[in-house]
């Protein structure tokens, strides 16, 4: 029989000991939380990217007003990317003898669309299906509106420029539809790119928009974009803009980021609370194993043997817990995936292995971090305890325990949260919580020891609690952490999520209008007013390139992140404002004041400033219509991107952009039923371009809804972890207390009196823990709301009521039930059991 054989045997039997079961349970819960959230964010993240890609029919799109040179296609093909060219322009078709119809023509290469699906049907009412390729030469497809307005039948001939085409299919769904107004206003006619030349419509004067669609591996796309940025830096990309998923959609990006924060927070709190349970369980386990260790030591086992044996045991339990957690995590994410898939109306990509790895590592790391210290201490056991009962129990160094736990938590938090700010705050809150609990507990118990009044049973309980303040403080911490988990759930779930879901008002604008000329400004504003469309008004906009940073020429390639490169090289939309725009808040410096003089000043959005390394006081120079304009950064602003209001990265002080070529931009909310208003607007202002962001708005709302759901689900783990901690905490000290109770009982104390004593003890612990937990939940809520989520936070009174009342009652009951069997059994059984 090998030595390990014994370990297995003992463990198998020790598993019947509840501390180990609590340990396994705690590990399993933490791992389930980490993996299911990991699986889920991974899948949803990828689904979101796919979904956004669908809206562009590609992963990356190049746009231009003129023909995109062949180099750009060649480069993409060399990198192995899929390529499709698309050209769009408004035109007129002639139907029959005299009928003409304004259409939006799209000529697409055969690979179109690269992402998302084009759906067509043979008849307007027919079943839709996905075509193998685009329209063949000589044929054209039209959307339902074109079929309706032209009243044509299948096979009819239409004339586009010099070319006669046969109308064959109905377009039921076009993934990248709806980017420009003329798109929406006019019916769609789709032809093959090969037929475009024959129409004779593409001339110097025609308003054709060129798009090059690209799709492929993330790596190839990244290489392509870097190449593009270099081209841009050399000034070779004249008029070509590049767009990737989420690039131009800070609203979507910010919703996704925030969603990730919520999920991260949810799984983190589960992990940390489960960590507390692991720490407690390991402590208890080590205490139970102290005699075993001492016996083995007496029999001649070396410290290394003991360490190896108990460590193997601990890790074995960790593995069991981790495996259970992985299985449940996988099942859990399946459920989440189902919920989310329905909410998003997309097929989620299947889970990848990354989260499995994450679960595995976090399970083992947590067990080591929270459970190692007491186990390691076991090897130092004194054999004397076998002959002198009272010789002190093993004391785990609480310093090393705390340090290890903090190290493990820090590692996990930073690794899992992906969001440094969130991670930092979560850690800070947790550390403050623990210090607060220990400190509060210490003060309280010190006070208890001084109590000299009340009926004898009560006094006995109070002073005994006071004397056992070490264990009682540990219990208090655990109860506090458990209750805090539940309260945080309440705070985050109810208060923070609610305020997030309502951050997009139904009045949120779903259309943007750009290119409004200064002379049209008044007319456009009054047109909006006449049409009774809610709008924030029009904002001036001047386009400029960022030339110099503190007098140094900006080198795009010098930025390490692709996002920074992109932002720096792109044309900026600069605005001018007298007053701080609504919904913006100053985070550094102060808003323009006439007192500072009218010298040029900029106000920069804080996220952009961080990405580009801009700080307060920097001098930025933009090139606007060939001339340089400089000013100092006097404030940084925070902008709520997902409010869908018009917002600017950079705003100039009044006077700085006077006489620069200015257009106006505005946003307005258009109820879906009033599409006709839009057609009217566009007829009245042909030069104005209107974007429909309704789809985007919906996407963001969907993310919010779905994440709310998921966050609640994930917090169930926190809840479970909290309950596990409570169980572990009741077990801590149960041994001592129950022994005491059994002795009292043997001495003839009535059962009722003992029950009252126990209940009182747990009531006191529960309400103190509840009070402290409520305090820290509210504090945590405030901090998280302000620093992480940018949301207002007004905690209700419920947190306090539930914290204190629930803490006292819940823990009182749990404790009483858990210790009841002792009170019912005759004292001898208990005492005998203690002896053995």
């Amino acid at each position: 029989m090998s030595r390990n054989y014994w370990v297995w045997r003992r463990l198998y039997r020790d598993l019947q000991v509840s501390e180990l079961r609590v340990l396994v349970l705690a590990v399993a819960i933490a791992v389930t939380a980490v993996t299911s959230v990991g699986f889920f964010t991974d899948r949803v993240g990828r689904a979101m990217t796919l979904r956004s890609a669908e809206v562009m029919a590609a992963d990356v799109v190049l746009r231009s007003r003129s023909l995109i040179p062949a180099d750009y296609v060649t480069k993409a093909k060399i990198l192995g990317l899929d390529v499709a060219e698309v050209r769009e322009f408004p035109s007129v078709i002639v139907v029959g003898e005299d009928m003409t119809l304004l259409v939006s023509v799209k000529a697409a290469g055969s690979a179109y669309p690269l992402r998302g699906a084009l759906m067509i049907a043979d008849q307007p009412e027919g079943e839709s299906y996905s075509p193998g390729s685009g329209p063949v030469a000589g044929t054209a497809w039209g959307d339902a509106r074109l079929w309706a307005q032209s009243q044509l039948a299948r096979g009819a001939t239409i004339t586009l420029g010099h070319l006669d085409l046969t109308l064959t299919q109905v377009i039921k769904r076009e993934p990248d539809r709806g980017q420009f107004l003329f798109d929406l206003a006019a019916p769609r006619l789709l032809i093959g790119l090969q037929d475009l030349g024959a129409t004779g419509l593409v001339t110097e004067a025609s308003r054709v928009r060129y798009r090059l669609l690209l799709a492929g591996s993330a790596q190839a796309l990244d290489t392509y974009r870097r190449w593009f940025t270099r081209q841009q830096a050399e000034g070779l990309t004249e008029g070509i803009e590049i767009e990737g998923v989420g690039d131009e959609r800070p609203a979507l990006q910010s919703a996704l980021d925030r969603a990730a924060s919520y999920l991260g927070l949810a799984s983190l709190s589960a992990v940390i609370i489960a960590g507390a349970a692991i720490a407690l369980a390991a402590q208890l386990y080590a205490r139970r194993q102290t005699d075993v260790a001492a016996v083995m030591r007496a029999l001649g086992a070396s410290q290394a043997t003991l360490l190896q044996e108990f460590l193997l045991g601990l890790m074995l339990m960790a593995c069991v817990g981790t495996l259970i957690g992985l299985v449940f995590g996988y099942l859990g994410q399946g459920g989440l995936g189902y919920l989310a898939g329905r909410a998003l109306a997309v097929e989620l990509p299947s889970p990848s292995v990354r989260p499995v790895l994450a679960g595995l590592i976090s399970g083992l790391l947590m067990t080591l971090g929270f459970g190692l210290a007491p186990i390691v201490a076991l090897r130092k056991v004194s054999v004397m305890r076998l002959i002198r009962r009272e010789s002190s129990a093993l004391t785990t160094s609480s310093v090393s325990l705390t340090l290890m736990a903090i190290a493990a938590t820090t590692g996990l938090v930073f690794w899992q949260a992906r969001d440094g700010v969130l991670a930092m705050w979560v850690l800070a809150v947790m550390i403050v919580l623990i210090l607060g609990l220990v400190g509060g507990g210490w003060l309280f118990f010190a006070g208890l020891r001084k109590i000299r009044f009340g009926p004898s049973a009560t006094r006995y309980v109070l002073s005994s609690l006071g004397r056992r303040s070490g264990i009682a403080t540990l219990q208090l911490c655990a109860f506090g952490a458990g209750i805090m988990a539940l309260l945080l759930l309440m705070v985050i779930r109810v208060d923070l999520l609610d305020s997030w879901s309502t951050s997009i008002s139904p009045q949120a604008p779903n259309h943007f209008a750009i290119n409004i000329q200064p002379l049209q400004r008044a007319a456009f504003e009054s047109a909006l007013e006449t049409a009774n469309l809610a709008s924030q008004g029009l904002f001036p906009m001047v386009r400029g390139r960022w030339e110099k940073h503190n007098g140094m020429r900006v080198d795009h390639a010098a930025f390490s992140s692709p996002r920074a490169q992109r932002l720096a090289s792109r044309e900026f939309n600069l605005s001018v404002a007298e007053a701080l725009p609504e919904g913006n808040t100053i985070t550094r410096g102060s808003w323009f004041s006439p007192a500072k003089g009218r010298a040029g000043q900029w106000s920069v959005e804080e996220g952009l400033a961080e990405t580009l390394g801009i700080v307060l006081g920097d001098v930025l120079t933009f090139r606007i219509a060939g001339e340089e304009v400089s000013g100092a950064v006097t404030s940084l602003r925070r902008v709520v991107w997902d409010s869908f209001q018009v917002n600017f990265f950079v705003i100039a002080s009044p006077g700085l952009l006077v006489d620069r070529p200015t257009t106006y931009i505005g946003s307005f909310a258009l109820p879906p039923a009033r599409g006709a208003v839009l057609a009217g607007l566009i007829r009245q202002f042909p030069g104005v371009t209107v974007f429909d962001v309704g789809m985007l708005l919906e996407q963001v709302q969907e993310i919010i809804d779905q994440v709310s759901l998921v966050v609640q689900y994930v917090f169930v783990f926190t809840l479970l972890a909290g309950i596990t901690v409570l169980i572990a905490a009741v077990q801590v000290g149960a041994h001592d207390r129950l022994t005491e109770m059994a002795i009292l009982r043997a001495l003839g104390a009535g059962r009722r009196r003992l029950e009252w004593g126990l209940l009182l003890e747990f009531l006191i612990l529960g309400s103190i823990a509840g009070l402290l937990a409520a305090l820290f939940s509210v504090l945590a809520g405030h901090i998280l709301a302000r620093e992480v989520f940018d949301l207002p936070f007004e905690p209700g009174i419920a947190v306090w009521l539930v914290g204190i009342g629930g803490g006292a009652l819940g823990i009182g009951l749990v404790g009483l039930v858990a210790s009841r069997s002792v009170l019912r059994n005759p004292p001898l059984t208990r005492l005998q059991w203690i002896q053995s």
Binding site: R3, A301, S382, I387, R388, S836
Partner: protein
């Protein structure tokens, strides 16, 4: 003959709430191979403390202990443990069997820690000698106190130790099983020639030893 354990001017003191408490004061003590020595004295007189120091469980404040020819003061904790393995046996007042191992496994574990091959065979043999052949697969909690102490005896004697330390081995047992355990202890000792240090306050038990040392207040009265 060289003594198997020698204590020289052994002093052990601890810091108590009201000053330093001297539990053992300049104790000299020795046992020669095969000899059985009883240590008696009132409760609190320092018997267990002496036993712990002799066995290397504890470290004296002053003085030295030589066990099996080795100065314990020069050995590390691990070296002391290694010295014990296979050479020193123990029997405790509260048995101290490993609760998650069966009777057989408890004995086998001690043999394996002592590096004995064919441990199981030997374990069965010795458990048979203490009359527990039919209880091999029972866990400690399924055994009576007397039976548990018999398993502990089997565990201690399985490795044929040169010396056995016993601290009130019958202290937790009622008379009849106490007598049984004591008989087995002395029989096994006789068969194996093991030296014995027996701490007890039971005078009849003490008289079964070759020599009796009386302790009071940290002093050992010479016998």
């Amino acid at each position: 003959m060289d003594p198997i354990v020698v204590a020289n001017k052994l002093t052990r003191q601890v810091n108590a709430p009201d000053g330093v408490l001297r539990i053992l004061d300049n104790v000299d003590f020795s046992v020669i191979p095969g000899e059985a020595v009883a240590v008696t004295g009132a409760s609190g007189s320092g018997k267990s403390t002496l036993l712990g120091l002799l066995a290397g469980f504890d470290v004296p404040t002053r003085g030295s202990v030589h066990l099996l020819g080795q100065d314990l003061g020069t050995l590390s904790e691990d070296a002391k443990a290694a010295l014990r393995a296979g050479n020193v046996g123990f029997v405790f007042q509260s048995f101290h069997l490993l609760p998650s191992l069966t009777a057989l496994e408890n004995v086998v574990l001690a043999l394996e820690l002592a590096g004995v091959v064919q441990a199981e065979e030997r374990a069965r043999e010795i458990l048979d000698e203490v009359g527990l052949a039919h209880r091999l697969r029972h866990f400690p909690r399924q055994l009576s106190g007397g039976e548990q102490q018999r398993v502990a005896l089997a565990r201690a004697f399985a490795v044929s130790p040169q010396i056995l330390f016993a601290d009130e081995p019958t202290g937790n047992l009622e008379q009849e099983s106490g007598r049984q355990v004591a008989d087995m202890l002395f029989n096994l000792r006789r068969d194996t020639g093991t030296a014995l240090v027996l701490v007890t306050h039971d005078e009849t038990l003490a008289t079964r030893c070759d020599r009796v040392c009386r302790m009071s207040n940290g002093w050992v009265a010479p016998s």
